[in-house]
Symmetry: C2
Subunit: 418 residues, 2 copies
């Protein structure tokens, strides 16, 4: 591994996010404007001072018949003629856009860059969305075999079960935690715990005079094939992130000027990106080598170790993905993520809260926006601005972990409140 770093640092001084959910009447630009308008910077900023836009987007082409999104977004928020560049690495597009912004500032070319992500997905039928997402996998060797992403991640889940003795119900613990977190996030697509969802279904049945489901607890509910159908065994509906519309932005400035915008900038102290083999040719299905590599690079740049991290937003596109992410990042020993999860380590009041935002699972997963939305959460938490979901105790180091496809791209960033 090369030992390199950026020649100057950058800090996040503001973040914004749209509501995540199903808004099929909104165009991508509407979502982006909503996120941009949501961004408040403590000491203010002039949009005209933005020198470049890096935009994460997976496929406006297919989802809304609009390619070349970046200059359209720049126009929609009034920052022309600034350079606007779309970055695409599947569901890691947002995280990679941040990395491009970091390098652009370090290069000396810019001092203020807007990094954004947007995806408008729900206007198409679900099957078409699943197929469109599927082409982030290998179109010659995976897609023709009938694989879409639930199948690819189910393959990883069964391999993990076989190796480490995990049970399908262990996966449900990830969903339960992330829905509980999402219930506290006013921008999340799902703002209810799974227990609340279960109770509301029971009440709905009662009020309509229909047979009342006999669920005694949330695990009964999650094992009910009609309430939580199998999508690709062992993954059920509530193991899968939803199809979502949404956008997020962050304002990145060079270290030298960060305090002109806020007394509490969040510095980006580590950045790592790596590519990996597609799943079909990967020797080990229970880890994402690119995530390990990307995190090693990021930790090294930041000069920190996994045990120094106070909170993380990881790419839980499926429940199994969160467990593997936690291990790839070194937040627990390999094969032990289920045990640590059950011990509450990753819960909001645990030692290393993971996905306090609700994660992709509950907050929603507008794919090009997700990597930027992860930074939104870390920024809010590190600054003590996360409202009812604020994590208590000392928080100075946060991490984001953003994955494209089955880990053919991974990008990890580390953030510090100094």
């Amino acid at each position: 591994m090369k030992r390199k770093s950026l020649s100057r640092k950058a800090a996040v001084v503001g973040v914004g996010i749209s509501s995540f959910g199903a808004f099929p009447d909104k165009a991508g630009r509407d979502l982006f404007v909503e996120a941009f308008q949501d961004m408040k910077v403590d000491k203010g900023f002039n949009p005209k001072d933005i020198e470049a836009l890096y935009l994460g987007n997976f496929s406006g082409d297919i989802f809304e018949g609009q390619a070349h999104l970046a200059p359209i977004m720049a126009d929609s928020i009034g920052i022309l003629p600034c350079p606007a560049t779309r970055v695409e690495d599947a569901c890691a597009s947002g995280g990679v856009a941040l990395r491009e912004g970091l390098m652009a500032i370090a290069s000396g070319m810019y001092d203020m860059v807007l990094v954004g992500g947007v995806e408008r997905m729900t206007a198409l039928p679900t099957a078409q969305v699943t197929d469109a997402l599927g082409i982030a996998a290998d179109a010659l060797y995976e897609v023709p075999m009938g694989y879409t992403f639930p199948g690819l991640y189910a393959t990883m889940a069964t391999a993990y079960m076989e190796r480490y003795g995990m049970k399908p119900e262990d996966l449900m613990q990830v969903a339960i935690k992330n829905y509980e977190n999402g219930a506290l996030n006013p921008k999340a697509q799902f703002q209810s715990s799974l227990e609340s969802i279960m109770m509301s279904k029971i009440k709905a049945a009662q009020s309509k005079g229909k047979p009342v489901p006999g669920w005694q607890n949330v695990m009964d509910f999650l094992h009910d094939n009609s309430a939580n159908p199998i999508i690709s065994w062992p993954l059920r509906l509530f193991d899968c992130s939803p199809i979502s519309d949404g956008a997020a932005v962050l304002l990145l400035v060079s270290e030298e000027i960060a305090h002109e915008f806020t007394d509490h900038p969040i510095f980006v102290v580590g950045s790592g990106q790596a590519s990996g083999l597609p799943l079909y040719s990967r020797p080990d299905l229970t880890t994402l080598p690119a995530a390990q590599k990307a995190s090693q690079i990021a930790y090294q740049m930041a000069g920190v170790k996994p045990q120094d991290i106070h909170l993380a937003e990881v790419h839980d596109c499926f429940t199994i993905a969160e467990l593997i992410a936690i291990e790839d990042l070194g937040l627990c020993p390999v094969g032990k993520s289920v045990e640590f999860l059950k011990n509450g380590i990753f819960h909001r009041n645990g030692t290393i809260p993971v996905n306090s935002s609700g994660g992709l699972k509950a907050k929603g997963h507008p794919v090009g926006a997700s990597g930027v939305a992860q930074v939104y959460e870390i920024f809010r938490q590190l600054r003590g601005e996360a409202g009812t979901r604020q994590i208590q105790g000392t928080l100075s180091l946060g991490l984001t972990h953003n994955v494209g496809a089955t880990g053919t791209t991974c990008v990890v960033h580390i953030f510090e409140r100094k």
Copy 2:
């Protein structure tokens, strides 16, 4: 305009290109491997030393059902786990990928970056390709009006005719020049002058005993509606760049190490990128403000003026685009490009040869690759390696001009042989 520059320079030390043409049986990765294998570096290089890939691509999603192309290309040439990032700004994707590579090296993160571009377009029916390209325009305000790109550029052409008195046959002079250049380029999609194409059609008619067309010269041929049909008036078939498959790559390294690879590196001394309004909301249809802006930034960074440029590759997606490009770049006074063209200024043996490669018009236009392929030509010409199309005389400064859509993105680079 901000006065900024890169904190360290980079140089191109090798270039490679696939054949451009119609290869519907090849996947994008096949074209990319062909381009990579074509790249020879004077003193050699180890592909394992490549630290990042920036890939220009417009829409693998639609054209070949393969998104997330960058890590697949990295895998195909054996450079995993290096970070691989797709950059998309419509037909400017390749030029913008170069700019990202430049900034990445200047940032201190990398010393050796592979910049590539690829597009595999001909497997789809022409109408579907035209529609797919069309969504680089504004999908809310232009596409629903029935506009595709021939119509958008025809709109610019008629505005230019109205303002400057240009005739449709003046546009044909651009095509004649670029086909003559393409005839000398062994990688070009069309390796014949328009006169040769005319003669071969006459011979074909004669040999089949069909009525022989009565063309006396190439202008007769180009005015024949059956030989050169109107696509969108005043643009005819030979005013439009073709649909193409192809790929191109370049190896970019930091200034400090450039001489480890070659005694004749080509330094990238200027880089400018800007965004512009879509055509529907632009007050003046006879110029691309983003191209003017991008070139001003690039000239300033390089410390040179338009009259210092020895040769240029400009984005002639349509013949009118070349004329406007020449003016936006300051290579001749506004409204005078036709006059200068007719005087031979932009011909291969003129004062400022433009599109010595054949341009998008004759070389072909695999859209994501075009911006990188332009650099291929400049590199070869500045190093005196352009074979039968080598421009004579002193050549030390070359320029590339790459456009996305109708100029919503423009990116200009200036190259120097020192």
